[in-house]
């Protein structure tokens, strides 16, 4: 009886994402809520039934059957109440004839592109993706993004409202080697011809950079978050890598930029285990034990970085991946090729101007040519008020860098002045402790 009771990690979340993606394609994303409710009910049914008995030999197929029936029943109920629209009847017909899903990956990717609808505000896109594709519920999303549940609800309902009134996004263009299997895709392609496929391609191409951006933000939420709960952050990074890998290996999303972004993600997660000491305190790059860096992740990073060096586009993702690669490649902090890093930051600034990049470039120059040169580089840049932190608000980062560079030049009073500002602005206790330790204050 206790045979076959084990389910893979994240099984329910993964299946939720698959079910929603496939049903949303079949029903049209105008009926996203029906798809989500059906997926939820199917998983509940599985929980009840599998816990008592045993897991069926093909759990995904079992879930899909139950979810499909749930969705059909909901459509029929709506029809009986006379609230049915023509589109819903058609959706029901299509759904009713649907066999096992054959292109789950394509469906998942399609859902990712649906989340990046031009009419959905950017902050809503990420939340919708977390809800529908990653299978997090509202409280879980709120906890991971450091926002209120009300905020998550608001963002979700904006996204859904847009999808309800929008038109249907095309199916995912067939990937290399895909669509050769059972019926559905083959028939469809034969029937509607290559012209349709081209339209789909351009629809996907048009949204690709938005999709990349959402995945980038998803990763950054995990990687840069001030959250103390490491597992939650790791989870967001893992989700970002999983989805970006899916994108990079599919014809609809494979592009040098996607590869570069994926390389960047692997380089960053490789170094995550070394960022904290045993007590959970933050460690500076130069203090980190490089033996803790994950070699496998670094190798994968370099593999994708190699693939990204094609075509004539040099994106911000390329620049960021190049910087991360230099760090991963360096045997020690001292042996880092700071000239390369400074150069890449300059390229990054050209791609995506930001005072943070100017700051990081100054730090690289300081390591390369000395702290005075770093300060000179900063003189040319002017921080925006939110980053300077001299009068209320602002980030601790700018004064911290100034304090550190002045300290290394021996200007103690300047170092102290900026250091105090940095400590005052530190957002968490861990960061405050890090600054105090660094500046000897």
């Amino acid at each position: 009886m206790d045979k076959g009771h084990r389910l893979v990690e994240h099984f329910f979340r993964r299946e939720y994402g698959r079910l929603v993606a496939t049903l949303a394609r079949q029903l049209g994303e105008q009926h996203l809520e029906i798809a989500e409710d059906a997926a939820q009910s199917a998983l509940m049914a599985a929980l009840e039934s599998w816990a008592r008995g045993s897991v069926p030999s093909n759990p995904s197929a079992w879930l899909f059957r139950v979810a499909k029936n749930e969705a059909l029943q909901e459509l029929r109920t709506r029809a009986r109440r006379g609230r049915i629209l023509r589109a819903e009847t058609e959706a029901g017909t299509v759904l009713g004839s649907l066999a096992e899903p054959t292109e789950v990956e394509g469906d998942m990717l399609r859902m990712l592109f649906v989340c990046c609808d031009e009419g959905i505000p950017e902050p809503s896109r990420l939340v919708l993706a977390l809800k529908t594709i990653c299978g997090f519920d509202v409280p879980e999303i709120a906890r991971r993004l450091f926002v209120s549940e009300a905020n998550v609800y608001k963002r979700l309902s904006r996204a859904r409202a847009r999808l309800r009134e929008g038109s249907r996004f095309p199916d995912c263009p067939a990937g290399e080697g895909a669509g050769m299997g059972e019926g559905v895709s083959e028939e469809r392609v034969a029937r509607e011809g290559a012209a349709r496929e081209d339209d789909a391609r351009s629809a996907y191409d048009a949204r690709l950079s938005s999709v990349q951006k959402v995945l980038y933000v998803l990763f950054a939420e995990g990687h840069l978050s001030l959250h103390d709960e490491m597992p939650l952050r790791q989870e967001l990074c893992d989700e970002a890598i999983r989805l970006t890998t899916m994108l990079a290996t599919h014809v609809a999303g494979s592009s040098p930029e996607t590869y570069a972004m994926l390389a960047l993600m692997h380089f960053h997660v490789a170094r995550m285990p070394a960022r904290q000491d045993a007590g959970g305190g933050l460690l500076l790059l130069e203090e980190q034990n490089r033996a803790l860096w994950d070699r496998q992740q670094i190798l994968e990073g370099f593999a994708w970085l190699g693939k990204s060096a094609t075509g004539d586009v040099y994106s911000r993702y390329h620049a960021e991946a190049a910087i991360a690669a230099e760090h991963c490649r360096a045997p020690s902090f001292q042996e880092t090729r700071w000239d390369k890093i400074a150069e890449s930051y300059a390229l990054l600034e050209a791609q995506a101007p930001s005072p943070l990049h100017a700051l990081n470039r100054a730090l690289a120059i300081a390591e390369w040519k000395g702290p005075r040169a770093g300060l000179v580089a900063l003189e040319k840049a002017s921080p925006p008020s939110w980053l300077e932190g001299s009068q209320g608000g602002g980030s601790h980062y700018w004064p911290l860098v100034l304090a550190d560079l002045h300290r290394r030049c021996g200007d103690d009073s300047e170092a102290r002045r900026h250091g105090e500002a940095a400590i005052k602005l530190a957002p968490t206790e861990a960061i405050r402790a890090l600054i105090a330790r660094r500046l000897d204050m």
Binding site: M1, H5, H10, F11, F136, D137
Partner: protein, 110 residues
């Protein structure tokens, strides 16, 4: 070892919201661990109870009370005493919680 019928009283309501997929995974794991721990006691995992009718001489009637209020599910455990059976049932994740309790009844077999 005597056998005991465990009846889940009242349906699990929607109060408290629906569990998220991650929570379901956790519930599933907990249930599995409970089954493993008490596998010697679990005679029949039973199932959910659906609609029913009451049959008396000459008539078939609906149940006196809503069947769902009566019991949501059942299972049969074996135990050396009522107290032990209660221990098994009350350790079952999801069985004893707000809006749901369990009635443990000894089954007398000749």
């Amino acid at each position: 070892m005597a056998k005991y019928l465990c009846l889940q009283r009242s349906v699990p309501s929607d109060e408290g919201g629906k569990p998220s997929p991650a929570q379901m995974q956790e519930m599933y794991a907990k249930f599995g661990a409970w089954q493993e721990k008490f596998k010697a006691n679990l005679v029949d995992m039973g199932g959910k109870l659906g609609e029913g009718k009451i049959v008396t001489t000459g008539s078939v009637d609906g149940p006196l009370v809503e069947v769902k209020e009566l019991a949501g599910g059942y299972m049969i455990v074996s135990a050396s005493s009522l107290d032990e059976a209660i221990e098994v049932a009350s350790a079952c994740p999801g069985l004893v919680r707000p809006g749901s309790g369990v009635e443990v009844i000894e089954i007398h077999t000749p």
